[in-house]
C-alpha cells in the first residue's frame, strides 16, 4: 500500500473534481433527499421542553441544599461529632462543639451540640458524603431546587447555622404528620 492510500483513522476520503451531470446540476434529487430528512424529524419525539411552563422530572438521587435536621420535639440532631467534616472530600465543613447547659435541653438532643456549623458553598461539591457519614441523622441534602443563591460577596457563600438548620415550623409540621400517621 502506498503512502497516499493509507488511512490510519479509516475516515480518509479521496476528493475528486468530477464534472457534475445535468441532472445533478439541477439539485432536485438532493433537495428531495434533504426534505425527507427534515420531514422525518417532524414526527420524532421533541428533545426540548417549554421551560418555565413545563419542568423536567427530578432525578430521584438529586442532591440540593443541605439541612440540619431537628427531631420531632424540635431539638437539633447534630452533636458536632465531626464525621461529616472528616468525610468531606472538598473540606467544606467546619464546626465547633459546645456542651449543652441544663436549661437548653429542649434545644439540643444530646449533651454536646454544634455552636458553630459552617459549610463553604463555594467548596461544596454536593456529593452527599456528609449525609452518608452522619451517625445521628442530622445532615441531609434536600431536594431544594436552588443549590446556592447567587451573591456578589464571598462571605455570603459560607452558610452558618442560620441558613442550615431546619426551621422550627417545618419540624412542628413533621411531628404532626408523624403523630397523624
Amino acid at each position: 500500500m502506498s503512502i497516499e492510500t493509507i488511512s490510519l483513522s479509516g475516515r480518509k476520503k479521496v476528493v475528486s473534481n468530477k464534472e457534475m451531470s445535468f441532472l445533478e446540476k439541477m439539485y432536485l434529487l438532493a433537495i428531495v433527499k434533504g426534505m425527507i430528512i427534515t420531514i422525518k424529524h417532524l414526527f420524532t419525539r421533541k428533545v426540548t421542553i417549554q421551560y418555565p411552563e413545563q419542568v423536567r422530572e427530578m432525578s430521584p438521587v438529586y442532591r440540593g441544599q443541605h439541612q440540619l435536621k431537628r427531631d420531632e420535639q424540635g431539638r437539633e440532631n447534630c452533636t458536632a461529632c465531626g464525621l461529616c467534616a472528616l468525610s468531606c472530600p472538598a473540606e467544606a465543613i467546619t464546626m465547633k462543639a459546645e456542651e449543652r447547659k441544663p436549661e437548653e435541653k429542649h434545644l439540643y438532643r444530646e449533651e454536646k451540640y454544634a455552636s458553630i456549623y459552617e459549610i463553604n458553598m463555594l467548596r461544596c461539591i454536593f456529593c452527599g458524603l456528609c449525609e452518608e457519614a452522619c451517625p445521628k441523622d442530622a445532615i441531609y441534602l434536600t431536594t431544594s431546587k436552588t443549590l446556592v443563591a447567587s451573591s456578589y460577596d464571598r462571605e455570603d457563600f459560607i452558610y452558618g447555622k442560620d441558613k442550615l438548620v431546619m426551621p422550627l415550623d417545618i419540624a412542628m409540621q413533621n411531628a404532626q404528620l408523624k403523630n397523624a400517621n
Binding site: C81, G82, E98, E110
Partner: protein, 349 residues
C-alpha cells in the same frame, strides 16, 4: 523457653506471659487487651478480651488446655503452642466478650472525647458484630463530679480497674475506687471527694474507654482534627519525666497527654502540672510530629508517615551514566580536563 504463637516461634524468659510473648512477635496475633497494662502491677485478667487457645500445654505435658486462657495472666511454658487469631474458637469467644462489654456501653461515640483513640472502638471494629442484639434498657448512672480536671462518665466504664491501680501505684492516697457489687459496681470517690493528686491525671491516659476524660479538653475538638507533636519541658515535680504528646490545632495546644505506644500504653507517666496547666507553646520544647499506626484515624491529613522509596532494579551505577557522559554535562564533582574543555566547547566530545 520456646513458645509458638500462631505458628511463629520465639524464645522467651521464664515468667513471661503469653500476651507479652505475643507482643514481642507483634503483628496480627497479638491479642487485644482492655484491662492489662504493662506499666501497672497486677493489672489484667478482668476483661477476657485476650483469650487464647493453648493447643499444647508444654513439652513435659503436651495435653491441650481444655478452656481458653486469658493470655495476659497465663505464663509461658517451654514448648507451648498457642493459637490466637488463627483459631475459630478464640475468634468466637472474643466476639462474645465484645458483645458483653458493649451491653451496657452507651455507644455515644459521636459525643465521646475518646472516639478515635478508644480501645473499645478498635475492639468492636475488629471483633464485634455490626448490629446489637440487646434490646433491653441500658444501665445508667447519675453523673458525678470528681474534681476540676477529670470528667467521669460512669455509663461508659467497662470496669477494667486500671484507674484504681494508677491511684494505688502512682499516688500516695487513693480516694476513688469501685463501689457496690455486680451489676451495680461503679467507679466513684469516697463520699463525693475531689481527686486532686498530682499524678491523678494519668487515670485519663490509662482509661481504655471514654469513662475518664480530660475536662480541659472536653468537647474542644475531635481527636483526629488535632495534630500530635512530641514535646518536653523541664518539670520540677518529682517522678514526672516531662515528656508528652501535645495535641495542637493551629498554634493552640488543646490537650496534653503522655506518649502512647502501639498498644496505647503510655511510655512514661506525667504529672498534672504538665497535663493541665501548661497550654501555651512557650512552655514546651517541641521535638517533632508524633507517628501513629498506619490505620489510625489520627493520621487523617497527616503526611508524617514514612513513604516507601522506589528502588529501580538495574545494574549498580547505570543511572549515573557513562563516565564520558557525566563529564559532558559538566558535573562540578567530575571536572573536565583543560584540553577536554576546549573540545567540549566546540562540541566534539
Amino acid at each position: 523457653m520456646k513458645v509458638t504463637i500462631d505458628g511463629q516461634a520465639i524464645e522467651v524468659e521464664p515468667g513471661t506471659t503469653i500476651l507479652q510473648a505475643a507482643r514481642m512477635i507483634g503483628g496480627e496475633s497479638v491479642p487485644p487487651a482492655m484491662c492489662y497494662y504493662s506499666k501497672l502491677k497486677g493489672s489484667g485478667g478482668k476483661c477476657r478480651c485476650c483469650l487464647v487457645e493453648v493447643a499444647k500445654g508444654s513439652e513435659a505435658d503436651p495435653r491441650p488446655m481444655p478452656k481458653l486462657m486469658a493470655s495476659c495472666v497465663t505464663g509461658c511454658m517451654d514448648g507451648m503452642e498457642i493459637n490466637s487469631k488463627s483459631s475459630d474458637r478464640v475468634k468466637e469467644a472474643r466476639e462474645s466478650v465484645t458483645e458483653f462489654l458493649l451491653i451496657n456501653h452507651p455507644l455515644d461515640c459521636p459525643v465521646c472525647d475518646q472516639a478515635g483513640e478508644c480501645d473499645l472502638q478498635d475492639l468492636s471494629f475488629e471483633h464485634g458484630k455490626a448490629k446489637s442484639r440487646f434490646i433491653e434498657e441500658k444501665r445508667t448512672f447519675e453523673p458525678e463530679d470528681i474534681g476540676p480536671n477529670i470528667q467521669l462518665h460512669m455509663n461508659r466504664c467497662i470496669l477494667c480497674y486500671r484507674c484504681v491501680m494508677v491511684a494505688d501505684q502512682l499516688t500516695d492516697n487513693r480516694v476513688h475506687g469501685v463501689m457496690d457489687r455486680g451489676d451495680h459496681s461503679n467507679i466513684s470517690t469516697c463520699i463525693s471527694k475531689a481527686i486532686d493528686n498530682e499524678f491523678s491525671g494519668n487515670m485519663i491516659d490509662v482509661c481504655p474507654v471514654g469513662a475518664l476524660t480530660d475536662k480541659t479538653f472536653r468537647f474542644k475538638s475531635r481527636v483526629w482534627f488535632n495534630k500530635p507533636y512530641n514535646a518536653h519541658r523541664e518539670c520540677t515535680t518529682p517522678g514526672c519525666c516531662g515528656k508528652t504528646t501535645l495535641w495542637m490545632f493551629g498554634d493552640e495546644i488543646q490537650r496534653v497527654t503522655g506518649r502512647k505506644d502501639v498498644y496505647h500504653e503510655v511510655e512514661e507517666f506525667i504529672c498534672n502540672e504538665c497535663r493541665f496547666d501548661h497550654k501555651t507553646t512557650a512552655d514546651w520544647v517541641i521535638e517533632g510530629p508524633r507517628a501513629f499506626d498506619k490505620d489510625s484515624v489520627i493520621n487523617q491529613n497527616n503526611y508524617t508517615q514514612e513513604l516507601e522509596t522506589v528502588v529501580i532494579a538495574t545494574e549498580e551505577g547505570i543511572l549515573k551514566g557513562r563516565d564520558q557522559d557525566r563529564k559532558k554535562i559538566s558535573m562540578p564533582a567530575i571536572p573536565l580536563d583543560k584540553d577536554e574543555e576546549a573540545d567540549f566547547k566546540q562540541g566534539n566530545i
